[in-house]
Symmetry: C2
Subunit: 193 residues, 2 copies
Amino acid sequence: MDAPLKSQRSTKKKLTSVMEDYLESIFYLGMKKKVVRVKDIAKQMNVKMPTVTSMLKNLNAKGLVLYKKYEYVELTKEGRDIGKMMLHRHEVLRKFLVEILNIDYKTADDEACKMEHTLSSNTLDAFSDFMAFIQVCPRSGSEWLDFFQEYRLHGCRPEKCKERSQDTICKIQDQMSAMPTNTPELKTHDSSS
Amino acid sequence: MDAPLKSQRSTKKKLTSVMEDYLESIFYLGMKKKVVRVKDIAKQMNVKMPTVTSMLKNLNAKGLVLYKKYEYVELTKEGRDIGKMMLHRHEVLRKFLVEILNIDYKTADDEACKMEHTLSSNTLDAFSDFMAFIQVCPRSGSEWLDFFQEYRLHGCRPEKCKERSQDTICKIQDQMSAMPTNTPELKTHDSSS
DNA sequence: CATATAAGTTTTAATCCTCTAACATTGATA
DNA sequence: TATCAATGTTAGAGGATTAAAACTTATATG
């Protein structure tokens, strides 16, 4: 008697992050391979084929892929939309990690993959805007990012970031190094999202 | 006959991210509550008490907590180190999300909690350094972050970021908006880390 | 066509984390 | 001390994801 005619069709809604990964991988493979096979997905996802088979049944039941035994795999409209979104998120994050934080590509790609499920759209947008801003704002730009790399390598030595006295700069720097773990409120865990 | 005298003691090593969460929560509660109880952990972790009990047995077997039926919970040296590290990671990430990206506290806290398990130490350090750099580099600083918020709210309008012609700025801006999803190599999934 | 090899599936099981329901202990209070 | 409420534990179960082993189907080639 609860929630009578709610779930419009299939077992739908509530995807796990693993399911999202599968959709992203299938979408990605579909873009570069014409046909997508169980074997390809297994390789992309770093799992064995039986794992893929059972997940495909799952996603098929949810109306996200079209799956029939021994045939190629295809995404439905809905599955494609989700896969595409996940790939886009992935790319935004990787771009941030590579271009702003200067993380090496492989690592950035791995970590983007993990971050992409946890971040809200708002946060994602903020990352994206931040990157754009850095390109746009004349006070920063690529030159400025170079200073950041310099700073990481050689510590407090921003002679090149002029416009302020060395004194001020290095005082702040010392402050940061000694920064204590100040531990404000830690919110409760949340299984949502 | 495999790996004879390897695992120094207990079932140790290979923590799941959930285990890390528990250690972080216990560490956090220990800092503000004198004694840590099952009930507190359950509340902090948003799970039921039996879940906590079984996890405590688990962590106890791994030598990360000192746990005896009906008694208060304490961390071992090793458990405390891990808990402290996780809390530190949590705080670095939340700080980044709040101070740089201007995400609201609650959301930032949630998302930091998820990110803290997946990012490598190197990436974490990069986040941390980046924040410090923004404080230190005279070309950026808090004024500059205000420009970012301005930019997010009103789009391409960095009159305040002088030193470059409006034309150049808005050309770049248009470029970014139209930015396609260019999809370079997507690396394989990796269950490591 | 015959059959070997590559690809895919089924079955069964393991691990991890969680829950509900029922039972046990502790501590305070009447 | 008897008892109640709060706290904690056990037992049993289930969902999610994974793999190993054995079996099935598809396909290419002699």
